[in-house]
Subunit: 236 residues, 2 copies
């Protein structure tokens, strides 16, 4: 049995950038799994894992934490299922890509849109996230939000290596998606679920690629309602 713990917000929205990586990796492997939503500030619910972060995978009693460690675990435990890395070269370069996204792309986008998350989570979770980001960025969420247009322009520029590869290929895995696609997808899905901001410009090949990943596995990514969709429903 496979169980996944991931962040859950108001309206049951699922916005964890790291958990989306794991979710799509599980679908990629064709594995059935149960999902448990956890509130950001509820550390007791995941105390069993011996640490405080999601995603957490439990597989037949074994607990694995950290999205990259989970990806390696799935590749090792289910070698006969579709590969997440396409071999040794792909795995090492996916590792480079994973650290690059974590260190260069996430901090270039998430803090600037984090103000939007406050409406998507409980008050306790919002206070928790505010403290986390404001102490990391040494700036108020409101100040960060005010700089978002400039930040998104810089973020789009940082995506140039991905853009060049996607001009020549449908996915970062080539003709078919692999784990590298899910790494970047997780970040853009986070933005889609929590914020009305337009992160990618129309006509950007990355926007077309994002649409393709949203459609994978019966549209599991697309079925998660975006912030704009939830707002429309609330207004209707």
């Amino acid at each position: 049995m496979l169980e996944l713990w991931e962040l859950g917000g108001r309206d049951d929205c699922r916005f964890s950038t790291f958990s989306w990586r794991t979710r799509l990796a599980l679908h990629h492997k064709g594995l059935a799994f149960v999902v448990h939503p956890v509130a950001v500030s509820d550390k007791t619910a995941i105390g069993f894992s011996g640490q405080g972060k999601v995603p957490i995978l439990k597989h037949d009693g074994r607990v694995v934490t950290d999205s990259w460690a989970i990806a390696l675990y799935l590749e090792r435990e289910f070698p006969d299922r579709p590969t997440l890395f396409g071999g040794e070269v792909g795995q090492t370069l996916t590792h480079v890509f994973n650290v690059w996204v974590d260190r260069e792309l996430i901090p270039a986008l998430i803090p600037f849109l984090m103000g939007d998350v406050l409406d998507c989570v409980s008050e306790a979770d919002g206070a928790h996230l505010r403290r986390q980001i404001e102490s990391a960025m040494k700036q108020s969420l409101e100040g960060l939000s005010a700089g978002r247009e400039q930040a998104m322009t810089a973020f789009r520029r940082k995506l140039q290596p991905v853009r060049k590869a996607l001009e020549a290929n449908d996915f970062l895995g080539g003709a078919a998606p692999t784990y590298a696609d899910y790494i970047l997808f997780g970040l853009l899905q986070w933005a889609r679920v929590v914020s009305p901001a337009k992160v990618l410009e129309d006509g950007d090949v990355i926007a077309a690629w994002f649409g393709r990943v949203l459609d994978l596995y019966d549209g599991v990514g697309r079925r998660e309602r975006s912030r704009l969709e939830r707002a429309k429903e609330a207004a209707a």
Copy 2:
């Protein structure tokens, strides 16, 4: 027959970061080739290629320019030789890596050490390189050189994605080198050949990896004398 045109400087030193990528790719494929050194400012010598940059590969009369296009060409033309990319996922992610190194790493290091190249090339070439860098960076070579310690600290930090992968693997290709290794090698080899500056700190896993790549193919990288080695010889 395979011929490679690459930059050549004083004392026959070979410092082109892009040509080193191609050189090691040719060795990786186990191909014999002839090398033609070209001066930076000598555009007539490579006029036959219809453009002004090295590396240039000529294979049985066909001319291929641009190091990435050459790598794709070699992989396609010599599929039975050792692979440069390790399959489709590896190829696409190597493309991402190639653009990242070109856009993020090269500008973070080369301009700051470019002052050292002046002693490695003819006066005409030096003037050419000075104009090129000063107009791109909107700063004098001397001003750039003065900021080199700070720049190298930032550069080392930018290498973190590579460092993490090399903590777990001998090469960016995993247990054996692939083209991604040669992409980064070319940059560090450029620095080794033109500058006495210590780009990597002792104990950095990337320094150990660089040593391993210098040793590949009968030490073709190491046989190219470093700036420090040439200075010692000149002083002796």
